[in-house]
Symmetry: C2
Subunit: 333 residues, 2 copies
Amino acid sequence: MSTIRDVAKLAGVSVATISRYLNKSGYVNVETELKIKKAIETLNYSPNAVARGLAGKKTNTIALILPDISNPFFPELARAVEDVASMYGYAVILCNSDNQGMKEQSYIEILKKKHIDGIIFASNTLSHTEVAHLDKNGIPLVCLDRAPGKQSCSVVRSQNKNGAKLAIKHLLGMGCRKIAHIYGPHELITAKERLIGYEESVTGFDWYSPTLTMEGDFSIAGGMHAAQVLMDRHPDIDAIFAGNDLMAVGALKALIRRGIRVPEQVAVCGFDGINMTEITEPEITTVAQPIYEMGALVSRILIKKIEGIMEADQTYELDVSLIPRKSTQRRES
Amino acid sequence: MSTIRDVAKLAGVSVATISRYLNKSGYVNVETELKIKKAIETLNYSPNAVARGLAGKKTNTIALILPDISNPFFPELARAVEDVASMYGYAVILCNSDNQGMKEQSYIEILKKKHIDGIIFASNTLSHTEVAHLDKNGIPLVCLDRAPGKQSCSVVRSQNKNGAKLAIKHLLGMGCRKIAHIYGPHELITAKERLIGYEESVTGFDWYSPTLTMEGDFSIAGGMHAAQVLMDRHPDIDAIFAGNDLMAVGALKALIRRGIRVPEQVAVCGFDGINMTEITEPEITTVAQPIYEMGALVSRILIKKIEGIMEADQTYELDVSLIPRKSTQRRES
DNA sequence: CTGAAAGCGCTTACAG
DNA sequence: CTGAAAGCGCTTACAG
């Protein structure tokens, strides 16, 4: 492996000039440039990014901390993050936190040692002290789905409450008159907002009762169980709005197993827009978040922040959209 | 941020001693050790991994190059890779190649510059010249699903041919008497091996005809289309063995849409063991590869290679196992 | 058991 | 437009 020194020698200039040429910082004479180019080529020189990182305090690496890449919501997000990162010349380190504070802490420690340029945080348990800590260390941070709070970091999220309202409106439009809701864990702000959207849409109807809601844990099994309980409780439910797609899949499964026809007897609607909703039969209507766009945006924001092209921290709330599919299609309309 | 120099000063020893203490290389007096510990604590010192990387030629970072993290096969694999990597103190950089040679090349160039310690390659188009190139550069490499060839790298794969035979045996056991096969792209060795396993199992039966096979492209849409063609061609098919789970899902979808009952009229069996096979209704029988184990193993092998605890390169062929589910359950048995 | 010194391969003021 | 030199924060022989 040749070094910048070798190139300098061969080209007959100083290493400083090579460095300037490489980084396009400062002027380089056209002729020298040619000599440098040739030298680089003949030596097959490629700059050492580690040395560069040490000297220049920039590693061109960012980290993506998420709960679990196996959760179907995250692969698409990760893909988007990596796509734009790589477009801008950044590598991305993947970290699975399992939403455990300990793991997050430990990743953050390691990432700090590695002097990565920034962090994208899609986990749920980032504490304010951690944010402050990163901030103190000058590590740019962008969060996904965090409360807007007054944390010193930009946040990308989507319209959870409105999304839930969209879902209910759609179900009502399909003729549903007793709509249950399976909500996610209370710790998750997204789950809570969706629940609120549901409640605000349905209180007022005489059929509404709080017993039409039931907690799931954002998993398929949780959705199945909740659907069973709900159907036992209110056999005349004609729609289930699940707080995320995994639970919607679970609910659908539970209904089919009971021999309940979807959507004729009970309509099912999810939230998130993961691909899984297209593989069931019937396919599941869902309130889709623009997952890829969210990942691309968060990545872009982080890089801007890193490169200092950043305005103040901001919260970006993206639109969601209802994707009508078979699982709620009860009339021609 | 304090440096090793600060620690040395405060502890009243040389930086070399601090370094020895940090790396547990060479002896350090117990009393000095105590002083060092205290100094580190009061300064809240944390070694700079970049400097360490430059001086020590080890970055404690590996890369995982795969086609697309959005493909449901890979998240679980990536999770496993990251789990064991982090257990051993390595960070993992995620790279999506889309199976494009260009992208792979470009990732490899970047990774070389970054002086990562090793690469896990789960993409399909790694050329021999590339392998040789990495080898020349002394970058350890472990591959997934590559032909055993005489490449200078270890390979982790699973029993594709036998897996296919398992599937056919299972279907025959379930009373199926006209089993079709949807195979994956010919470039993929895994797809070819599964096809061969099918062919070896069925030639000999009087019902067999080459027209019972059809290409899909390892996607859901490919599976749907192939299933439609096959059913048109041979309306009396009573089982479809798909070369991967995505195509099995597609086949199931196509059958359900035609009003064909699964498994009563046509049984469906997939290959891979991705979670998706459990979310359909009926759930899909599949020949499961031990995906998590494969990821964990490949990661462990790479790390051993990096740390020089490695025997010669080797090919590890893992067992697959048939997971019988509703989609093939045609008799009590 | 410990220290002085060179070196890893770059970048970045500072002069010129 | 270019070079000499210091510095980034470590590790690693080499002496002692």
